[in-house]
């Protein structure tokens, strides 16, 4: 059916119109044993992580690492600056005190933790990625509007076009097409 072009197929894309339909379809696809596939939706669908069998996101580790580095940076920086490199007596206060060094270190904990979570999220999602086969597909642009999609990649060992198409049809998709790389 596909025209004779050099373009390699990326995968098969199935469209759904309701959140419930895409959730049940995702459960079917996971049970069929696919690995290289994804669900696309205009907003996070409640229960989809479980339906797809995704494990807990690892963003927390990045944020935690950022926070630890931030707090250590704050404490060490203040200790070095006000005690070692340029000690100066202010009102008879100790050169270094963990109490007066706490507020800036606390702020740096939050600052680095926030960078950790944003950049950790982008790293785990491999973003920014401005060119993606799906973004070239006309119909797929409705994913930010009101449609839901399931895409199964050709790289998946279980992928075979007629059977995958059948599975997605049975799952209730009304519009299925093959997307090129």
């Amino acid at each position: 059916m596909r025209p004779e072009t050099a373009a390699k197929p990326y995968g098969i894309l199935a469209e759904f119109t309701t959140a419930a339909a895409v959730l049940h379809a995702a459960e079917k696809v996971r049970r069929a044993g696919f690995r290289q596939w994804d669900v696309f939706s205009p907003f996070p669908v409640h229960g989809m992580d479980k339906a797809m069998g995704l494990s807990n996101s690892k963003v927390g580790w990045f944020a935690f690492l950022g926070g630890v580095i931030g707090y250590a940076t704050g404490m060490l920086m203040i200790w070095y600056m006000n005690t070692l490199d340029y000690p100066i007596v202010i009102g008879g206060k100790p050169m270094f005190s963990p109490f007066s060094a706490f507020p800036p270190s606390y702020e740096l904990t939050i600052l680095f933790g926030a960078f950790g979570s944003l950049f950790g999220m982008l790293f785990l999602n491999r973003l920014p990625r401005l060119h993606h086969p799906l973004l070239k597909n006309k119909r797929f642009s409705l994913v930010t509007h009101d449609r839901f999609f399931i895409a199964i990649e050709c790289d998946d060992p279980k992928y075979s076009e007629p059977e995958t198409r059948k599975l997605l049809e049975q799952a209730g998709s009304r519009h299925i097409e093959v997307v090129e790389e």
Partner: protein
């Protein structure tokens, strides 16, 4: 009354039974978050259309004066920097005056944005989705306005970089035992994290604009900043976790920022400043003024942009209630300050608080009490919470009152300290007034550009709180609900 027997009783106890879910009586139903049962497409179209096409006339009517006021700010700043701090009214004994009043006031306004986006997120207040984007933008622009003042009032603005831990030519480091230094870290962290949070929330919505864009320029720019977002659920999973963590980090941050601002005062020895109640009192006041500003901005915007189905009367109602609750906390703090002044037995403390209420600045104290304590109590009346004009006027008065609160705390505390020979009376100059008016120009210029080019409603989040978004709701295509009661 036989109809009132619940299905469980009718079926008998002791085993699980499948029954249809009883409908709650209409008066117990909550008003939906998106009115008129609007669908996903409608939400995208309505919000995105605000940044598409030609700007409405009213936008230009507001934008041009804002830019002129911004020009005035630039002039005032150049005049002050080139001439000296003497162009302001700051004079012994009142060495902190409108500059610090306006700094604290603008920073305080910013607090509602983070409260709505972070604390209400952790508290699962789903109504926040309609207002969080605009409130976060308000936060960022308010913090920018605030940041101008400390940078200028140091006197020699070209040495501002000494505030940061950068090795300078004298190899002197900042001195971290001062709360003013903590303030630098608090405010700059607050600004940075607010921008990160705002941008992260914007990513899926920039993708909405990218997918609708017709011109190459818009496709390129929205596409660039949307970072190639596809709405993948594997991405959403990480995104939601990152959002949760950012909310968790922003919550202690927002509480710490105004606490640290209040430490600028309470760590000193001055009566009226040297109190332990300051951190929570400042945070409550900040949230109070921030909600006032959110209401003031959103009430006209929802009617001009026809967003009544997204920012519903229920949203206005809950924001009025938060305003009233924080007003009551502020009122309690005022009362507690007076009580402690009496209870401490410290004559300076006692004199200071009597001086606030009965001294030469009595008018400022009166403004503060009437706008912050008395007027918001009108929100006990549901009729007033539903009257947009009344809410709009009260929200402006809240911000007037909060400005006077900072004036009372800063100027009135300074003008009569321990030694009567050191007393004085502060008056602002025209430069003070025009600089303050100019910061409104900066704020409204940025805010108007924001509503023109970025989605002012968090599209994907609002879609997520509609009934159609819940895959277990019949409106989202789920089978009609059958509830299993485990009896």
């Amino acid at each position: 009354m036989a109809a009132q027997v619940s299905p469980i009783q009718a079926e008998g106890l002791g085993h699980s039974s499948v029954v249809s879910a009883p409908e709650p009586p209409p008066e117990l139903e909550r008003a939906p978050l998106v009115a008129n049962n609007r669908g996903f497409g409608w939400i995208s179209n309505r919000v995105a259309s605000l940044c598409e096409g030609a700007a409405p006339t009213w936008w230009w009517v507001l934008f041009i004066p804002s830019v002129l006021a911004l020009g005035m700010l630039l002039f005032m700043v150049s005049y002050q920097v080139s001439t000296g701090v003497g162009v302001w009214g700051n004079m012994r004994p009142v060495m902190w005056a409108w500059d610090i009043v306006n700094f604290v006031w603008w920073i305080g306004i910013g607090h509602a944005g983070t409260l709505i986006s972070a604390i209400l997120f952790l508290l699962r207040q789903r109504w926040r989705t309609a207002v969080n984007r605009a409130a976060e933008a308000m936060t960022i622009f308010a913090v920018m306005c605030a940041g101008i003042y400390p940078a200028l009032h140091v006197g020699r603005a070209w040495y501002d970089w000494w505030l940061f831990p950068i090795p300078n030519s004298n190899s002197i480091w900042p001195q971290f035992r001062s709360p003013l230094m903590w303030d630098v870290f608090a405010v700059s962290t607050y600004f940075t994290v607010s921008v990160l949070f705002w941008y992260m929330g914007l990513i899926p919505d920039l993708a909405v604009l990218r997918d609708r864009a017709r011109s190459r320029l818009r496709q390129f720019l929205y596409g660039l900043f949307a970072l190639g977002w596809t709405g993948s659920n594997r991405h959403w999973s990480n995104y939601e976790k990152a959002y949760l963590i950012l909310a968790g980090l922003s919550t202690p941050l927002v509480l710490s920022v105004h606490s640290i601002v209040s430490l600028d005062f309470s760590v000193s020895q001055l009566p009226g400043w040297h109190t332990t109640i300051f951190p929570p009192y400042f945070v409550a006041g900040a949230v109070f003024s921030g909600f006032g500003m959110v209401l003031m901005l959103l009430i006209p915007l929802r009617s001009m942009f026809k967003l009544q189905d997204i920012i519903t009367m229920r949203h206005i109602d809950v924001m009025c209630k938060v305003t009233m609750a924080t007003s009551s906390i502020v009122a309690y703090s005022y009362a507690m300050e007076f009580f402690i002044a009496w209870y401490s037995g410290n004559p300076n403390e006692r004199f200071h608080f009597l001086n606030r209420a009965m001294g030469p600045y009595q008018w400022a104290w009166f403004m503060m009490i009437s706008c912050n304590v008395l007027i918001p109590q009108l929100f006990w009346l549901k009729r007033l919470r539903q009257n947009l004009l009344a809410v709009f006027i009260i929200s402006i008065l809240v911000n007037v009152g909060m400005w006077f609160e900072r004036f009372v705390i800063i100027v009135v505390s300074l003008h009569r300290d321990f030694i009567p020979s050191n007393w004085g009376y502060y008056r602002p100059t025209w430069v003070d007034v025009c600089t303050y008016a100019g910061t409104f120009g900066l704020f409204f210029t940025l805010f108007l550009l924001f509503i023109r080019f970025l989605p002012m409603i968090a599209v994907s989040e609002v879609k997520g709180v509609t009934p159609q978004a819940d895959p277990h709701n019949p409106q989202a295509g789920a089978k009609p609900r059958e509830v299993v009661y485990e009896a």
